[in-house]
Amino acid sequence: MIILLWQALDNLRIWPEYLFPSPLKVLESLVEGFGNRTFPIAIGISLKRILMGYGVSILLGCFLGILINKFRIINDTIGSLILGLQTLPSICWLPLSLLWFGLNEKAIIFVAIMGAIFSITIAADSSIKNIPPLYLKVGRNMGARKFSLLFRVIMPAALPYFIPGLKQGWSFAWRSLMAGELLFVNLGLGYLLMVGRELNDMSQVIAVMLVIATISIAIDKLFFGRIEAGIRKRWGLKA
């Protein structure tokens, strides 16, 4: 439907072809990009970066979130700092990251980490606060202490409340990575966008944008969608 409308608009010839390519042209760019393997390579590089960045921010974010939840003093100090840092757009970390790590892979992954880590930390903390105290009482009464309580009661009980934060973290990480790749030119999908701009190839720009959006949707539906469906089935929550 949208594609038809797009084609119709294109046929009106309001804007010049190089600014407003037809769907067919974009499709051509897509086929070409996948054909000469520039797109798959760029996707692979970006996905590798996001997986590392997101993975690290989940681990660190959970760890920080648990600490903040557990220790009042950490909450009062780092807790409010994190709240402040979360409002900072993660791309603002790029200059710092470049100075720390130099022009390399680490710098760009660092930006992706910074994009996700704070929202994951906050989500971990608040999802633990959301656990009905009864589950903790029961867990302790059944002999769970410290780590067994954490892994067998607190984490599974917090998971339903944690998922939205995890999703938010994902989209923050993905956006920061794209922004980072745009500014700091070193392969990846964001870089392909910039190449398109430099070559004045509007159809490539739109093709890459479509690829980026498709990846986001696919991750959301396939990865998070499955986890959420699993939780709904177990807990008996409504869709």
């Binding site: 009482k137 029961v138 009464n141 059944m142 002999g143 599974p156 807990w235 008996g236």
Partner: protein, 262 residues
């Protein structure tokens, strides 16, 4: 009738809650001994501190004064030797029925095969073996009670502390569970402290029924129930014992109503 050793001993136990309106005495001067394999029911008007008393014996909250001894030793943390079945049960929604029953055994780091064997045994005892792969939200209220019971029994505790476990069930399910609990108690020889506000339930289940007064809760009267088991809740003999306990309880319920109106 019961010559077992004393499991739980409460001496001059009091509990006060401090709030902005001052000090509210909840429990006062509770003295109580519970022997091995005894089934003791505590009864009192709602909100009188029954649950607080149970929490103190489970060591989930401290007493303000007095001593609580378990097997002649001061209470340690609420360990798996005294398991609580809470009013709202607290079954884990992320686990299946069987995994719920295995939970405590897993904490104990028991082998998977052994865990499964024990879980099977107790799920059979509470007639839930067919539902072992169900999730908690797929069960009825009575079935959830049974899971909670199986989960506690699987840990093989010395004592069960039950906090109005059947209060939210319909009468039919409750009667059925009374029968099952009596049988389980008979078969497993557990010591049970059972809190309820239902007099007939208390008489049906207990060796002794302890009536608490209202605000602050003191032990008002202790009734020994010497009816043969298994007991039927509608039986004539049981109803005759219910009446005097009702008489004891009535003024306390009225007292609570009066206080709440002021």
């Amino acid at each position: 009738m019961n010559n077992g050793s004393v499991y739980l001993k409460l001496e001059n136990v009091s509990k006060h809650f401090h709030s902005s309106n001052g000090c509210l005495p909840v429990l006062e001067d509770i003295n109580l001994e519970i022997k091995e394999n005894e089934f003791v029911c505590i009864i009192g008007p709602s909100g009188c501190g029954k649950t607080t008393l149970l929490n103190i014996t489970a060591n989930l909250e401290p007493a303000t004064s007095g001593t609580v001894l378990y097997k002649d030793k001061p209470l340690t943390f609420a360990g798996p030797d005294r398991l609580v079945i809470f009013q709202e049960l607290g079954l884990f929604p992320w686990l299946t029925v069987q995994k719920n029953v295995e939970f405590g055994l897993k904490i104990k780091k028991m082998q998977a095969r052994q865990r499964k064997k024990i879980a099977d045994q107790y799920l059979r005892m509470v007639n839930l073996i067919k539902f072992k792969d169900f999730f908690i939200h797929e069960l009825s209220g009575g079935m959830k009670q049974r899971v909670a019971l199986a989960r506690a029994l699987a840990m093989d505790p010395e004592m069960l502390l039950m906090d109005e476990p059947f209060a939210t069930l319909d009468a039919q399910t409750r009667d059925l569970l009374h029968q099952e609990l009596q049988k389980i108690w008979h078969d497993t020889k557990k010591t049970i402290l059972f809190v309820t506000h239902n007099v007939r339930e208390a008489v049906c289940l207990g060796d002794r029924v302890i009536v608490l007064s209202a605000q602050p809760a003191r032990i008002k009267t202790i009734f020994n129930i010497n009816l043969p088991r298994p007991r039927q809740i509608e039986s004539h003999g049981l109803m005759e014992l219910v009446r005097p306990i009702m008489e004891e309880l009535k003024p306390e319920i009225e007292k609570v109503t009066r206080i709440n109106h002021e």
